[in-house]
């Protein structure tokens, strides 16, 4: 098994999008697995931002430089255009100020990569539409009253949101996650059939 195999499905798509030698910032970098992979396999120069102390310790174990911070406070310490790629993987839905966070990403990076669970997936719609219940699924595994996810979005909503934030969508990968972190790309009706998505954005 390679380190690449240990990544989440969305992280694998993201890893494949990062060019050789890029300067990469991962916001909410968790245990640093993705950044360590990008450094070791792509020769990327990597930096992370993370709020949780145990995750920071995992990053230090991987020798990934990480800065403890709250994304909702912005990236004020980072000058414009400092990074080639800024990543926000599975984190958009937990921040308090998604619009501000995305604008900050667009400011400090040439490209922004965002992955999120798709609230438009048919299973979610079924939960709400037929059962009248808040959805709980593999991609969204929390009860409504005890969830870090406070800003769910659908793929269609995110397209509008990107445009509204002054971003151009360069690429959009919608996929269905599978056991063991593999995934199948959903080409047809992505907003209905994909349970996750990765967007590549740049400033317009």
């Amino acid at each position: 098994m390679t380190p690449h195999d240990l990544l989440r499905a969305d992280q694998r798509f993201i890893a494949d999008l990062v060019p050789e030698g890029a300067r990469v910032l991962d916001l909410g970098c968790g245990d640093g697995a993705l950044l360590a992979q990008l450094r070791d396999e792509r020769g990327a120069v990597v930096r992370g931002v993370e709020i949780d102390l145990d995750n920071i310790a995992r990053c230090v174990e991987r020798d990934v430089p990480v800065f403890q911070g709250d994304l909702d406070d912005g990236l004020t310490d980072i000058p414009d255009g400092r990074f080639d790629v800024v990543i926000l993987s599975q984190t958009l839905q937990v921040v308090k100020r998604p619009r501000f966070v995305l604008q900050e990403m667009l400011r400090v990076g040439t490209r922004s990569v965002v992955s999120f669970p798709n609230f438009g997936h048919w299973r979610v719609r079924t939960h709400l539409g037929f059962h009248g219940r808040m959805p709980v699924s593999e991609a969204i595994p929390y009860s409504w009253y005890d969830t870090p996810n406070i800003h769910h979005t659908t793929i269609a909503d995110f397209r509008d949101f990107s445009a509204d934030c002054g971003a151009v969508v360069e690429r959009e990968i919608a996929f269905v996650g599978r056991e063991g972190g593999t995934a199948r790309v959903a080409h047809l009706l992505p907003n209905l059939l994909a349970d996750e998505a990765v967007f590549v954005l740049r400033r317009s």
Binding site: R23, V45, R47, L53, D54, I56, A57, C59, V60, E61, D63, P65, V66, F67, Q68, D77, I78, P79, R82
Partner: protein
């Protein structure tokens, strides 16, 4: 991490660093100080742990804080291990500990101006054959670092794998990175600051006033005299001690409890537990510390400003290449997180590898001496990677 590591809590293994002896080295040549004055004869008291690899690649310097000394960990020769306290950062230094003496060659020395064996105001001035007292030149953090550099050279250490320090020791670690960028691979700046703010300087000044205005101080020439500046030094320590704690930790420890009575005495006597505690801390300090050294150390901290003449801190740090671990503690209001973040921002701006974490703690500034577990989890892998990951693999993000 295997299962034996998972149950082991190395920071709880007292005095595992074993017995170490304080040695003294006389530096060659004259030392020119930041203030322009010189010292002809400087002795440095130091201790070492572990073994220096043949290629010299595993040396770590640990720098002590205001009241510390070279006795970093373990016991002194002849000390009763059952009763004597181990060195001041014992939970962090020893075999299998964060600063692993099985892997690293660890050096700690008493700072210039100190009272524990290194030349300072209590040393004999060769020109008068009397203790220097206040005739000892003012020293800076940079002067302390220069003395350490000379000591290390004499010990055959030409490049440090890492320099580590908390509080005033952290200032030395930062000064190292800037002053000797080619000689430092990694820096751990723990509960420290790139410069003190007005509030911290103010507290230092109150402590100094208490000493200077104690009749027993006698202009600094109290060595061997009947009267000593015990009251002044004790008060200075009491003030200092308050600044090292937090409101929360003091309230938890003492509350408003009275020491010996259930009722107020309606007299100006020590009644509250916190009063007895501070008096005890002051008294204990007087027994082991020197009033003149207290003046010199606090002044060196006040003078320290990593930015110096540069227009921004980042400008001042250009050329620094070390990787950094910067740690602060949530309840430390003397060396606050906000100031650590300024340092980290500057280090990021110049493109160095820097990791920053704020450790949650109620212990205030003293937390760096009292929270070994959280520090272990960050410092151990940081230092381990310093040794294991070849320098060539690192790149600077510009």
């Amino acid at each position: 991490m295997d299962s034996t590591d998972a149950v082991r809590r190395p920071w709880e293994e007292a005095a595992s660093a074993g017995v170490s002896e304080t040695r003294t080295l006389a530096l060659d040549g004259v030392l020119t100080l930041s203030g322009g004055r010189t010292l002809d004869h400087v002795e440095v008291a130091y201790e070492t742990w572990g073994r220096l690899l043949d290629d010299g690649s595993n040396a770590i310097l640990v720098c002590h804080a205001l009241s510390g000394d070279s006795h970093l960990a373990g016991h002194r020769p002849g000390e009763d291990a059952a009763t004597a306290s181990p060195g001041w950062w014992d939970p962090m230094v020893g075999p299998g500990k964060a600063i692993d003496t099985d892997r690293f060659f660890v050096v700690c020395c008493n700072v210039l101006g100190g009272y524990s064996g290194t030349t300072g105001p209590s040393s004999i001035d060769p020109t008068t054959a009397l203790p220097y007292g206040l005739r000892f030149p003012l020293v800076t953090i940079e002067d302390m670092v220069d003395v350490q550099a000379r000591l290390l050279h004499a010990l055959g250490v030409h490049r440090l794998l890492a320099v580590v320090g908390g509080s005033m020791g952290g200032m030395q670690a930062l000064a190292w990175a800037k002053r000797y960028p080619d000689r430092v691979g990694s820096v751990i700046a723990d509960a420290t600051t790139w410069r003190l703010g007005a509030q911290a300087i103010a507290f230092n000044e109150v402590g100094r006033r208490a000493i200077l205005e104690d009749p027993g101080f006698a202009g600094g020439d109290y060595y061997g005299a009947d009267s000593q500046p015990e009251s002044g030094l004790g008060i200075a320590r009491m003030i200092g001690h308050i600044t090292y704690l937090s409101d929360e930790s003091m309230h938890k420890k003492f509350g408003r409890r009275l020491q010996d009575s259930d009722d107020y005495a309606y007299e100006f006597v020590s009644e509250f537990q916190v009063e007895s505690y501070l008096a005890y801390q002051g008294q204990r300090f007087v027994e082991r510390f020197d009033a003149n050294t207290y003046l010199y150390m606090t002044k060196a901290m006040d003078y320290f400003d990593l930015q110096g003449e540069a227009s921004t801190l980042a400008d001042a740090l250009r050329g620094v290449t070390a990787r950094f671990l910067v740690l602060s503690f949530s309840s430390d209001w003397l060396f606050p997180t906000a100031r650590s973040r300024e340092l980290v921002a500057a280090l990021r701006e110049i493109g160095t590898e820097v990791t920053f974490a704020e450790i949650p703690s109620a212990y205030g500034h003293d937390a760096f001496l009292l929270e070994p577990e959280a520090q272990h989890k960050l410092i151990a892998p940081f230092l381990s990677n310093a040794l294991d990951r070849p320098r060539a693999k690192r790149e600077v993000a510009r």
